[in-house]
């Protein structure tokens, strides 16, 4: 019973669903029972089969196994029975059995162990949910390695035929590296089973080159069948397979010549039998990662763009070096600005900008292929290595006949990637024609030409739009657009009209298509002279009679001649024509022009006009009689008649004309004549002289002095010639001032100096000018200048001296003479009438002592009175002073004119008195002096005459004492006036002292003093010159100086006693 129960309720195969149907109480009770039973079963395991487990690896068969009872020996039979609708039992000698998969639901399994000692039976409930699905261990069919790409290829069979369809399988692949089997990668790979065996591939790119280390690969799987409700488990790992590289004897670095994207990571390794010392990329050293053996690796992160020859990676090995080159760059940029156009509709040129540089050159450079979608044709870009720096690439694509729309795709690829760019073009709208060549111009007529040119291309199906540039000399260029049907033979012609005859044109042309894309470049310029045409009207003519009235001169204008600066051969006739105007033109005029007679009005007034700017405006009143037109002719007034510079015709309704001409020059006078035209001919209406612009005269008027008097000057001048006037004369400016030729410079005439007198002569007909109120015998500076409205002309100056005023001079002489005569007469009369009184007064027969003031002398002198005493002019014998020098080196000075015999004195050779022998005259004061020559001055032997008045000789303080003593002794009594020989020497005087005392009448003074020479005199202190004193014997009482003290250097010293002799003697001796 226990077993049954036990079998009925197997502890770990109980269906949960049943338990959920019982009540809580029942569940608790059951749990209790279950615990009890489990203990019971465990206690009985040894006796019955137990621990039934079933798995499946293909969902079709189940593998069940159980544990036999402990007492069952080897070879014990078991009976495995499945209790379903048809009970099936299997007799087994083992404890496992493979049974077909059972249907869903519980199945009762009875296992009876048939032992010798009896049988033990266990019952199990088997359900699919209790089955574990464990797939068979997969097996790697093949593991291969692509060393160049460091790729492992794994190949295995999924054995799908054993599983129901539509099972998902998860494969787990592990990559192990190095002999130590370090797991480097674990990946899952999903597949679906389709009921058949299938071989699966899986590839893996290793970051480490496969050559560097052994790589191991293992695989397992997990079958995920949705219909199977049991437990699913991973299969066991397959046996690992490995990949290794047989190293060569030489060390080698991997990968070789790899092209990688800039910024990516890469690992390099060196397979070496020897120890690797260091590794570097470029010049940067890297840490070594040690692999199996001596192999090492380095890992480079974020690699930068390489040079054109790549980035070097070098491993230094003892006594060797090995390395590799990596090329880091970019995949090709999308081709930019892809554009396709054609020059000739035969060949398409596609150009593009490659964009960002890839950093890869040579075999790694970007290759381009241009593919046309509609035709399927393509062309490849052939790189010209020299032009690697060009920013644009271009490809030529031959056009496909009858195809207008092109769909171009440009493919760019390099080892790192590819890109493309597409353009769809209607090629007839992308025509950029070649430059037109063989450009020619042909005449049609005088106003039209044919242009022909060559434009290569197959433009037969389209229209061309061409632009013609027409340029006339000195004119704005004209552009004309024309549309031409395209032709196949590339030759084009077009007519260009509306041109001027006989005109030089410059043509050039460029073309485009009607559907405008781009203009071609301009063709070469072509210059062309249009042919001549029949003149449309006669020339502008004028005629004049020659001055003798016998010849008619005819003038004409021809604008055509002025236009052609370079007449060509055809115009030679015209050149001849122009050289012989009269002959040719008379014939011409005979047919075309009706000469009109000319009337001249005699009472015409010449008017003046001044122009403005470049022209001159003439106005006139409207004259209804003038029916044809007006003609204004003009000429340079300095030219002889008939002269004509030009003329101009003005319509008859005009009343003014602005005459302009390039020939006009400022400052030149022109004559303008206005003719009016009537039926019977031209009539001179006005005659005008004028200037375009007035200038200042360039010359001064030529003027002369016609007459001069003491107080006036008459000036006359001439007209300035018209050529030099350069304007209408407005007047003259006359300046005058006192001044000598040398000193006076009449500058700053306009500054208004007060001493310059100005006369403005505005009457230009005036040709003379009298300047009055001048001073006689005075030099005057005269200046004359003309002026116009253009300014002042230059000045012309002259110096004139006015005549002397003779009457005044005469009067000035006569009046003093007359006065002198009258005074003399009156004086004579008075003297005559009073002669008695005069005689009584001045020359009494017996002098009245009272009248002689000598008696008062003592007192006056002693008193030192400064009262003036008059020197009485007594008649006396003139005397002279002779100065004699003892020195022989000096010539004797002698007045040859007046020599007084009494003054002669013998020469004294006294040592004590080395001075000259001096004869002193005391009246009248005629003094002679001889200035020694300069040599004498230097020798110190200067002879000097000092005039000392009488008073000085009597000055007490200046006299030596002995003289004072002698004076009283000399006697103060009256002494008669007598002529005495005067001895010059002191000795003589001293010797005669006694005689003097005994003589009768004597002068009232001691004559010794007269020539007394005092060595102490102040006047003798400074030189050794002699001092001469003199006095008057008759007026010794006079104490006044006759002559002031002489200053030798001053000419004024003679002022008191003026005489010719004195004057000359005082002159410097040069």
């Amino acid at each position: 019973m226990d077993i049954y129960l036990c079998s009925k309720r197997p502890s770990w195969l109980v269906d949960n669903r049943r338990m959920r149907t019982t009540s809580d109480f029942q569940w608790l009770l059951s749990a209790f029972v279950l615990l009890y039973l489990m203990n019971h079963v465990n206690s009985q395991r040894k006796e019955t089969p137990y621990d039934l487990k079933c798995t499946t690896n293909n969902l079709q068969t189940w593998d069940c196994s159980w544990k036999a009872p402990s007492e069952a020996g080897h070879g014990t039979l078991s009976e495995f029975c499945i209790d379903n609708r048809s009970r099936s039992c299997y007799q087994l000698a083992r404890t496992n059995i493979e049974i077909p998969a059972l249907s869903r639901g519980d199945h009762e399994i009875t296992i009876r162990s048939l032992q010798d000692a009896g049988s033990s039976t266990s019952k199990f409930i088997l359900n699919e949910k209790n089955i574990s699905l464990i797939p068979d261990t997969p097996e790697i069919l093949n593991l291969s390695a692509d060393f160049s790409t460091s790729t492992l290829h794994v190949k295995w069979n999924d054995k799908g035929s054993v599983y129901p369809r539509h099972s998902n399988v998860i494969w787990e692949i592990k990559i192990l590296r190095k002999k130590s089997m370090e797991l480097v990668k674990l990946v899952t790979h999903n597949t679906t089973l389709n009921g058949k065996d299938a071989v699966h591939h899986w590839s893996w790119v290793s970051d480490l080159p496969l050559e560097c280390a052994t790589h191991y690969v293992g695989i397992r799987c997990y079958v995920d069948n949705l219909l199977f409700s049991g437990h699913k488990e991973w299969s066991d790992w397959s046996p690992v397979k490995n990949v290794s590289w047989t190293p060569a004897s030489q060390p080698k670095v991997f990968p070789q010549d790899k092209v990688i994207l800039v910024g990516s990571d890469i690992t390099f390794c060196c397979v070496s039998q020897e120890k690797v010392l260091s590794a570097q990329i470029g010049s940067t050293y890297c840490p070594l990662i040690h692999l199996d053996g001596e192999n090492v690796a380095i890992k480079i992160r974020n690699i930068s763009v390489s040079d054109s020859s790549g980035t070097n990676v070098v491993f230094m090995i003892e006594d060797n070096v090995c390395g590799t080159v990596v090329f880091a760059g970019y995949p090709p940029d999308t081709p930019q600005k892809l554009n396709c156009e054609t020059h000739d509709l035969k060949e398409i040129i596609c150009s593009w900008n490659p964009g960002r540089p890839t950093g890869l050159v040579g075999p790694r450079n970007t290759s381009y292929t241009l593919f046309e979608g509609f035709s399927g044709k393509y062309v490849r870009f052939k790189r010209v290595e020299v032009s690697t720096n060009e920013s644009y690439h271009q490809l030529l694509f031959q056009m496909v006949p009858n195809q207008e729309i092109y769909n171009f795709t440009l493919y760019a690829r390099n080892p790192l990637g590819r890109s493309q760019s597409t353009i769809l073009v209607n090629i007839t709208e992308k025509v950029y024609p070649h430059t037109p060549t063989s450009f020619k111009v042909k005449d049609i007529n005088s106003t039209a030409v044919i242009l022909s040119w060559h434009l290569p291309g197959s433009f037969a199906k389209i229209n061309l739009l061409c632009q013609i540039e027409i340029k006339k000399i000195n004119s704005v260029q004209e552009l004309r657009n024309v549309t031409i049907k395209g032709v196949e033979n590339s030759s084009y012609r077009i007519a260009v009209g509306k041109l001027n005859p006989y005109t030089v044109y410059t043509f050039r042309i460029r073309c485009s298509t009607e559907t405008f894309w781009k203009w071609s470049k301009w063709s070469n310029k072509k210059q062309h002279l249009t042919t001549e045409a029949i003149p449309s009207k006669g020339p502008d003519t004028w005629r004049e009679w020659s001055s003798d009235g016998k010849n008619l001169i005819i003038y004409w204008k021809s604008s055509a001649f002025r236009q052609l600066t370079k007449p060509q051969n055809k115009s030679s006739f015209r050149e001849d024509f122009s050289r012989q105007p009269q002959l040719r033109l008379i014939l011409w005029l005979f047919n075309h022009i009706e000469p009109k007679s000319c009337y001249v009005q005699n009472d015409l007034q010449t008017e003046q006009a001044v122009g403005m700017g470049k022209g001159i405006l003439l106005t006139w009143h409207h004259d209804p009689n003038m029916t044809c037109d007006y003609v204004i002719k003009w000429c340079n007034s300095s030219r002889s008649e008939p002269c004509l510079m030009d003329w101009r015709k003005v319509p008859s309704n005009s009343t003014e004309a602005l005459i302009q001409s390039d020939q006009f020059r400022p400052g030149v006078r022109y004559n303008f004549f206005l003719y009016g035209c009537r039926n019977q001919g031209y009539q001179l209406l006005r005659s005008i002289i004028g200037y375009i612009e007035e200038l200042a005269p360039i010359v001064a008027p030529n003027f002369t002095v016609e007459d001069t008097s003491a107080d006036s000057i008459l000036v006359k001048w001439e007209d300035i010639p018209v050529e030099e006037l350069r304007g209408f004369l407005r007047g003259y400016l006359f300046y005058f001032e006192k001044g000598e030729r040398d000193t006076s410079k009449m500058r700053d005439l306009e500054s208004g100096r007060s001493d310059i007198k100005v006369k403005n002569i505005t009457d230009i007909s005036q040709k003379t000018l009298r300047i009055a109120d001048l001073q006689g015998k005075t030099s005057y500076h005269l200046v004359l200048r003309a002026y116009t409205d253009g300014g002042m002309g230059p000045e012309k100056s002259m110096f004139v001296v006015t005549k002397e005023n003779s009457v005044g001079l005469i009067i000035a002489i006569l009046i003093p003479v007359a006065v002198a005569v009258i005074v003399g007469v009156v004086t004579s009369i008075l003297c005559y009438r009073k002669r008695e009184w005069i005689k009584e007064t001045f020359y009494p027969d017996i002098p009245n002592p009272e009248n002689c003031k000598a008696l008062q002398f003592q007192k006056s002198v002693c008193e030192g009175s400064g009262a003036l005493k008059t020197l009485e002019m007594n008649p006396c014998t003139p005397n002279n002073v002779e100065v004699l020098e003892t020195r022989s080196t000096f010539p004797k000075i002698e007045d040859t004119e007046i020599i007084s015999p009494v003054a002669e004195c013998p020469e004294d050779s006294s040592d004590a008195e080395p001075e000259n022998h001096v004869v002193v005259s005391y009246c009248p004061p005629i003094i002679e002096e001889e200035i020694p020559n300069p040599a004498g001055d230097e020798a110190g032997g200067t002879s000097q005459v000092i005039y000392i008045d009488v008073q000085s000789m009597y000055q007490p303080q200046a006299k030596p004492e002995e003289e004072h003593e002698k004076d009283p002794g000399g006697g103060a009594g009256y002494k008669p006036q007598m002529h005495l020989p005067i001895n010059a020497t002191v000795e003589d005087i001293a010797a005669e002292d006694d005689l003097d005392k005994t003589a009768g009448y004597r002068p009232q003074a001691n004559v010794n003093t007269w020539n007394l020479v005092s060595p102490d005199s102040p006047r003798s202190t400074d030189s050794n010159s002699e001092i001469v004193s003199f006095g008057s014997p008759c007026s010794i009482n006079s104490r006044q100086f006759l002559i002031p003290p002489k200053d030798e250097d001053s000419p004024q010293s003679n002022g008191g006693g003026w005489s010719f002799t004195n004057f000359f003697q005082n002159k410097p001796n040069d």
């Binding site: 670095v253 070789q256 010549d257 570097q280 470029g282 010049s283 390489s306 040079d307 054109s308 020859s309 790549g310 980035t311 070097n312 990676v313 070098v314 006594d319 060797n320 070096v321 090995c322 390395g323 590799t324 080159v325 090329f327 050159v361 040579g362 075999p363 450079n365 290595e385 020299v386 690697t388 720096n389």
Partner: protein, 215 residues
């Protein structure tokens, strides 16, 4: 001749094999019997070699400059790098001294023959690696042409001296085509370096010959 005699004495001071010394002494005596005077070709070859010598260091520097670091680093040198197809110029003085004129010329002839081929190869390599460097390519081309010129001159000398001219060999064979970029760079380095060394050696060889066969 006095100078030459002195040179011979100097040379004989080294322990040279007796027959070789005899040959060297005999050579000047034999030379007048040669059909053409060797002085002209020797002088020409010497001038060319001297001219080449002036450009070899420039070529090497230019070459290294375009190969990137560490080749372009200042003072780069890798004497351990050699090419089996290119005979090294380095030779011990003793061995070199023991060579007779014919052997020297023969060695140089062989070396420059190999160098012309290798320079062509290096030029091709650099067209791939440095296509945008016309200066380097031009210098490599010029060096190759000069090496060819020197070959011609040396052949003329050997003819003048009555020496057999070694047949041209394909020294490169099939080896170089699978080379990696790094191998190409190294190969070019060895070639340009050896070109300089061989030119130096040729200058010395020819100077010796020139002294022996004065014009």
């Amino acid at each position: 001749m006095n100078e030459w005699a002195g040179r011979v004495r100097d040379l004989t001071s080294f322990p040279l094999p007796g027959p070789l010394c005899l040959l060297m002494l005999l050579l000047p005596l034999l030379s007048p019997a040669a059909p053409i005077s060797p002085a002209g070709p020797i002088s020409q070859a010497y001038s060319l070699a001297v001219y080449m010598q002036k450009n070899t260091s420039t070529l090497l520097q230019t070459y290294l400059q375009y190969q990137g670091s560490p080749f372009s680093d200042p003072g780069f040198s890798a004497p351990e790098l050699q090419l089996s197809s290119l005979p090294p110029a380095a030779v011990s003085f003793k061995i070199w001294h023991a060579l007779d004129d014919g052997e020297r010329l023969s060695h140089a002839q062989g070396a420059f023959l190999a160098l012309t081929q290798h320079l062509q190869l290096v030029g091709d390599d650099q067209s791939d690696l440095n296509p945008g460097s016309p200066i380097l390519l031009a210098q490599l081309g010029a060096a190759r042409l000069r090496a060819q010129g020197l070959l011609g001159n040396m052949a003329a000398i050997m003819t003048a001296l009555g020496l057999p001219i070694p047949p041209e060999e394909d020294t490169l064979g099939l080896v170089p085509f699978g080379a990696s970029a790094f191998e190409r760079k190294c190969r070019g380095y060895v070639v340009t370096r050896e070109y300089g060394h061989w030119t130096d050696r040729a200058v010395r060889d020819l100077a010796l010959l020139k002294a022996k066969y004065p014009a």
